[in-house]
């Protein structure tokens, strides 16, 4: 059995750590490229959302490299993602790239269910080994998220374009190679130090923008047309609340996170959970505004149902909180130029607002 999985940001490092510890052979799909996307677009139904298409491209390329089994998480709705694996399996069945699909349904109550599902996957691995593997994988995801958070914060301060990204990439690789939890923590500390040691413009008072929306678009640069980087290059400090480690805590470990307070913030606008990250998008926008973000960019795949509901109430949030919001829906047709123009206009507007507010304060 050679296992593969879909890409989502640097999740590959986390999944690889988990399976390597358990002695399962893993094929990491090649990094997402134009080719991956065009493979996915050719296979997938045209109305499906972008993540499904990129996933399919990942699977196809991984099968070409010898993978025969796909592991992915499932879901119980109402977001489309919960049924992805079924559709993807049927699609690949009609091609020469058929795969076996192993679905990790998120546990209903507590993380014991998750451990049990992983045990089924690995067969003879002992409970101790499984717990150890999960702990290392989780530690890696926490470290990666911390690095990414710093990347989003510091990119706008770069004096030489590309510096922070380079250091980030290098330390992601080092985290990938780390063998145990102590190693991971050491690499993380070094990585943060290395980032801060770069020639950065610490005097800068950048515009701070919050990024909210659907998880794939937030975590995977290819799912949002590299939105975070584009904002960074425009001199914007980006803040985000949703990271992979938090998702793991909420959905796989079933522990309490800040999600509850985020949902409470959204409750006056969206009264119940509507699937995906719809309610959280609204709550996060409010939370980020309270934490000092001057504007919010909402991003999701085109036709994403929960994000459309969130978008519908976002105008009211924007009005109530005096918070500029830009909503972007991304699909395989999204052009670089159009997106850049919209972002530039949005950032220009925020800068002007900021100047006026500052002038008002100084008077």
């Amino acid at each position: 059995m050679k296992v593969t999985f879909p890409h989502m940001g640097r999740m590959d490092i986390v999944v690889k750590a988990l399976f390597a510890e358990l002695g399962v052979e893993v094929v990491v799909p090649p990094p997402i490229s134009r080719h991956t996307l065009s493979l996915g677009v050719a296979l997938a139904p045209e109305g499906a959302c972008l993540p499904l298409k990129i996933n399919l491209g990942n699977f196809w390329q991984a099968v070409e490299q010898g993978a025969d089994t796909v592991v992915m998480v499932g879901g119980v709705g109402p977001c489309r993602f919960g049924y992805y694996h079924q559709v993807q399996q049927e699609i690949l069945r009609d091609t020469a790239h058929a795969v076996q699909m192993i679905v990790l349904e998120p546990p209903e109550k507590h993380m014991g269910e998750l451990l049990q599902r992983i045990k089924v996957l690995t067969g003879q691995a002992s409970w101790w080994r499984i717990v150890k593997a999960v702990r290392l994988a989780y530690e890696k995801s926490v470290a990666l998220d911390r690095l990414e958070q710093e990347l989003l914060r510091l990119r706008c301060r770069e004096r030489r374009i590309g510096d922070v990204d380079r250091v980030y990439g290098r330390y992601c690789d080092l985290i990938d190679q780390a063998k145990n939890i102590a190693d991971v923590r050491r690499v993380l500390a070094e990585g943060l130090q290395a980032m801060h040691a770069l020639p950065l413009d610490w005097q800068k008072r950048p515009i701070v923008v919050g990024m909210v929306g659907e998880i794939y678009a937030l975590l995977e640069p290819n799912g949002s047309g590299d939105l975070a980087k584009k904002l960074g290059r425009l001199g914007v400090e980006v803040r985000r609340q949703l990271y992979l480690s938090r998702w793991i805590q909420e959905h796989l470990f079933k522990t309490r996170t800040e999600r509850r307070s985020i949902q409470a913030l959204a409750a006056p606008y969206i009264g119940c959970e509507i699937g995906g990250h719809g309610q959280e998008t609204v709550g996060s926008a409010i939370a980020l505004a309270e934490q000092g973000c001057m504007g919010v960019v909402q991003v999701g795949p085109l036709t994403c149902m929960p994000e459309i509901v969130a978008q519908s109430v976002m105008a009211q949030v924007s009005h109530d909180r005096d918070l500029p919001v830009l909503t972007l829906f991304v699909d395989e047709q999204t052009g670089e130029g159009g997106m850049e123009t919209r972002l530039e206009a949005f950032v220009d507007m925020l800068e002007r607002r900021n100047r006026i507010q500052q002038a008002g304060l100084n008077r």
Binding site: G47, A48, C49, G77, P78, C272, I274, G275, V309
Partner: protein
């Protein structure tokens, strides 16, 4: 106090008027809602049949990304504004145990409220959660809550609920026995207070845009798969059903397939769909595939999340099944009539050709 033949007291000078928008869940639950409100002594006002003015109202207010059924629903809600005391927009989370509806159904009242608040408009929404995922959270519970919200006595609510559930059961059995939905729905769409006119009798719908003299069903048997709020909305579906019947096609829908049959048809799938309306489409389509059929049309609104996956699955299964002609029609509010006619003609030509080939190869 006046008492009518059903034993309903009419003590209030002016009954409360409840508006029901003609869209989305309307096609599934109108008898339930209308019987319930009328049995409680309310008056029911339906929004007009979908027309371009209604759609324009909706498009003005809802985000571009929403699907056409949601846009037109907004139009229906706003066409009731100012004419009624309450507009009934329940939040349908789950109408069947362990399932969901599309997120847009879940967020519908929120979306409406937000649009109204932003425009400083008065939109008297009457909202209740319908959530079968919680114990006792089905329609009975939801409607009891509505009765309480309207300040109706509990005994009367109980009576109204009984009447409503019976009417709904009758309506569903009519549809499952093969009656096309508009015909079963027609008696419930009449003006006035239905329950005072005696129990409703099903009949042919009489609408201005529908020809009364349709040809018989000597043409091919074609199953049309799609949500009722798409198929039977004359504007969204661009009169697809009428167009087919004008061409003498024997139209069948997936609404005739009951939940159990649909469940059996999807048994071989490792994972059941978690959208109950979607399950009806998928299960219904697969159920019909086992029957003698000459074609299948899947109608999906542009941007519909569940249908983007279900449509693909149905098409895939149809292709594996053999050579069943399959047409996937994506509709939105920019639809052109000529394009639709051409595609239908081409599709029916394919069926006709297959018929000829089959009759030529049958050994004499």
């Amino acid at each position: 106090m006046k008492i009518n033949w059903l034993g309903l007291a009419q003590s209030r000078p002016r009954p409360t008027v409840i508006g029901i928008p003609r869209g989305l869940a309307y096609y599934e639950y109108l008898p339930l809602w209308r019987a319930f409100f009328e049995a409680m002594g309310c008056q029911v006002l339906l929004s007009p049949v979908s027309n371009p003015a209604v759609l324009a109202q909706g498009k003005l207010r809802v985000v571009d990304e929403a699907c056409s059924p949601v846009k037109i629903f907004f139009g229906h809600v706003y066409s009731l504004q100012g004419k009624v005391d309450h507009i009934f927009v329940p939040r349908l989370i789950s109408v069947q145990e362990g399932t969901y509806l599309c997120p847009k159904f879940l967020g519908l009242p929120d979306m409406l409220r937000s649009v109204a608040a932003l425009g400083d408009e008065q939109l008297p929404l009457l909202t209740v959660d319908v959530n079968c995922r919680q114990a006792g959270g089905g329609w009975s519970d939801a409607l009891r809550t509505v009765g309480k919200q309207l300040g109706v006595a509990a005994s009367r609510v109980r009576y109204a609920l009984q009447t409503a559930l019976a009417m709904q059961a009758k309506y569903e059995s009519q549809i499952q026995s093969g009656m096309l939905l508009p015909e079963a729905l027609a008696p419930w769409e009449k003006a006035g207070t239905l329950l005072l006119q005696g129990p409703p009798v099903p009949g042919k719908p009489v609408r201005k845009n529908q020809p009364i003299n349709l040809p018989g069903e000597e043409g091919p048997t074609v199953v049309v798969v799609g949500h009722p709020y798409v198929l039977f909305d004359p504007l969204i579906s661009m009169g697809l059903i009428t167009k087919l019947r004008k061409r003498a096609v024997a139209v069948r829908t997936v609404m005739t397939v009951d939940g159990e049959e649909a469940g059996r048809a999807t048994e071989h799938l490792p994972k059941r769909l978690f959208w109950s309306f979607g399950q009806q489409l998928l299960g219904g389509a697969l159920h019909w595939m086992g029957k003698p059929l000459e074609g299948m049309i899947f109608v999906a609104p542009f941007g519909c999340g569940p249908d983007s996956l279900i449509g693909d699955l149905v098409e895939r299964f149809a292709r594996r099944e053999g050579n069943l002609p399959f047409l996937l029609l994506t509709v939105d509010e920019h639809g052109g009539d000529a394009g639709m006619e051409t595609r239908l003609d081409a599709f029916l030509d394919v069926i006709e050709q297959k018929r000829q080939v089959r009759s030529a190869t049958v050994p004499v």
